[in-house]
């Protein structure tokens, strides 16, 4: 990985930071530690001494100010064609696992405007950040404050039985072209995304974390992006993304969860 002290740090930030996580759940009301700015410490954990600069010309983050459902908060990230991003980090400051995901773009991400949309869990009122790493190693950021609470500990799945029965099911869709020679696709993967903060209904113990660790997306064999994610990505992960038009426009998706289960799918524009 490109950023310093990567793997153990990544695991810690993506996974469940034990006692901190529990403390945050305890403050299930949205207010605990509201005023505290934890970003400086978080920035240091993520990027060491590198500076991170707010730059609306390099990355735009759209998020609802007040989320309807804290377990399903839609985020849209727009990266103008001029930004030459090679990575994208999504961070929710006050989540038990603040690093939602990092995306590493491949050649098939294309040179035009990149738009990426997904859904996250928000555990308490928090700043949400989209940070890109440019080709020349700068870290540029967009920040949005979102009012939502309880998304990480919200019980999995409104219909527990139905959803578990379908885990691993994948849908890949081609959407309309977005201009700039870019096209748009969407992937949906059924997965409970257990956060480790949800109680097992029968036993009273916490359900162990189990979530999609990696989602790798390629177009005609060339990488669009590789996402390494954690527990803050909503259940049934859903990602809309732009990619550069290719010959066949065959989209191939490989996902792996923390149990090592691999899920694969592919689809051409006609849904082959």
């Amino acid at each position: 990985m490109a950023y310093p002290h990567s793997s153990s740090l990544g695991a810690r930030l993506l996974g469940v930071a034990a006692s901190l996580a529990f403390a945050l759940v305890a403050g299930a009301g949205a207010h605990a530690a509201d005023e505290e700015d934890i970003w400086p410490a978080l920035q240091k954990d993520l990027f060491a001494e590198r500076s991170v600069v707010e730059d609306p010309s390099a990355v735009v983050l759209e998020a609802p100010y007040r989320a309807e459902d804290a377990a399903l908060v839609p985020l849209t990230i727009r990266i103008p064609s001029t930004a030459s991003a090679k990575k994208l980090f999504l961070v929710i400051d006050k989540n038990p696992a603040p690093l939602v995901a990092d995306f590493t773009f491949g050649p098939a991400a294309g040179a035009g405007e990149r738009v990426l949309e997904t859904r996250v869990r928000v555990d308490m009122y928090s700043n949400i950040r989209a940070i890109i790493e440019t080709g020349d190693g700068r870290l540029l950021m967009a920040t949005k404050f979102v009012k939502a609470a309880g998304g990480c500990s919200a019980p999995a799945l409104k219909d527990t039985d139905a959803a578990l029965a379908e885990a691993g099911k994948m849908q890949i869709k081609h959407l309309a072209a977005t201009g700039d020679g870019q096209r748009e696709g969407q992937i949906k993967i059924r997965h409970p995304q257990y956060s480790g903060l949800q109680l097992n209904q029968a036993t009273g113990y916490y359900i162990p974390a189990k979530f999609l660790r990696v989602i790798d997306v390629a177009r005609d064999g060339e990488r669009v992006f590789r996402m390494e994610g954690g527990i803050s990505l909503s259940e049934n992960p859903n990602i809309r993304f732009t990619y550069a038009a290719g010959g066949e426009d065959m989209l191939e998706v490989t996902a792996e969860d923390t149990d090592g289960k691999i899920f694969k799918g592919q689809a051409g524009p006609k849904g082959s």
Binding site: A23, A28, G150, D159, K188, R190, Q201
Partner: protein, 327 residues
């Protein structure tokens, strides 16, 4: 781990408070208790008799707030020859205690069953008030699982919304009798029919029918006045309503709204709401529009049909979209 300790303390203190309250209640002389029930009656009767031996209480159309003490859902009871069955218990220990006092102002018969229509706090948080009666607590076989998973969060949120005082004594009391198939209960010459439903408003909705009067207690399978809330499956809910509305009944008690309504007419506005939301979301999904598009635009024609629309509607759309995009 601070949380575990905090919650343990919390639970212990709740237990202590509930215990103290129960002890206090049973220590009251009967005359004093009767006076309390009558005092409550004097201002405005807590329950109305909607059919012989069938009583219901209309909760306020509101969210949890200190001023309403969690009295925001309908509840009721049925009196047989030998015993009483309670259907839902209100949103706090206090509301449960008021319902219990109302029962005692009507009959001294033992309270044999406390039935919960589903897991939501405004319907089950008064259960603790009935523990001294040692009834069977009755619910859909998935209620215990659903409520346990949400217990900590429900307690934290609703305690904060009500305030310590109005919340005092409230705790989770899970079913002791789990209903997984059509079942009848006997109150002595009076049969109560229970029918667990597939996922609809929640994944643990139970339909309760007093066979003698034909009265249906539908819990939140039916909303009136109060904006519906979706915590199960929008398609499943419509299927359950399609089925239930095929058979007329003399009256039905919704989870929110009037204490008694005509059936199946009572379901029509809700069925319309669910259909509008489903139809509009399907169009958006077909056009490859997003979840954000949906919460901003879907179902707005229903805005004036429901109270608390702002509080609940967009969230329903969000949940329905996440369900329907997998069709």
């Amino acid at each position: 781990m601070p949380l575990r300790r905090d919650l343990a303390t919390d639970r212990r203190s709740l237990l202590r408070t509930a215990g103290a309250f129960a002890a206090l209640a049973s220590a009251f002389p009967a005359t004093a208790r009767k006076a309390m029930a009558e005092a409550a009656d004097a201002s405005s009767p807590f329950v109305a008799e909607i059919a012989p031996g069938v009583y219901t209480h209309k909760g306020q159309i509101a969210e949890y707030a200190p001023g309403n003490e969690g009295d925001i859902a309908n509840a009721g009871f049925i009196v047989g020859r030998d015993a009483v069955a309670v259907v839902d218990t209100g949103g706090s220990m206090r509301v449960g205690a008021r319902l219990r006092a109302a029962i005692r102002s009507v009959t001294p018969l033992p309270i044999r069953y406390v039935i919960n229509t589903h897991m939501h706090p405004d319907h089950v948080f008064g259960n603790a008030a009935f523990e001294p009666d040692q009834p069977a607590f009755v619910g859909h076989h998935k209620l215990a699982r659903g409520l346990s998973a949400r217990a900590e969060r429900y307690i934290a949120i609703n305690k904060e919304a009500l305030g310590e005082e109005a919340f005092a004594g409230t705790k989770i009391v899970l079913p002791t009798l789990a209903i997984s198939e059509a079942t009848t209960l006997d109150l002595g010459g009076r049969t109560i029919a229970l029918e667990p439903q597939k996922t609809a408003h929640t994944d643990n909705d139970l339909v309760i029918r007093d066979v003698e009067s034909g009265t249906l207690f539908l819990g939140d399978l039916v909303f009136a006045e109060h904006c519906p809330t979706l915590d199960g499956s929008i398609l499943g809910w419509q299927a359950v309503l399609d089925h239930l509305t095929q058979t007329a009944a003399p009256r039905a008690v919704p989870g929110h709204g009037p204490a008694s309504m005509a059936w199946p007419d009572a379901a029509r506005p809700l069925q319309h709401y669910l259909k509008v939301v489903t139809d509009e979301i399907r169009v958006l999904i077909k056009d490859n529009r997003t979840l954000s598009d949906a919460t901003a635009t879907v179902g707005l024609s229903e805005r004036n049909a429901w109270q608390l629309f702002q509080e609940y509607h967009a969230r329903n759309v969000s949940a329905a979209f996440a369900e329907l995009e997998w069709e």
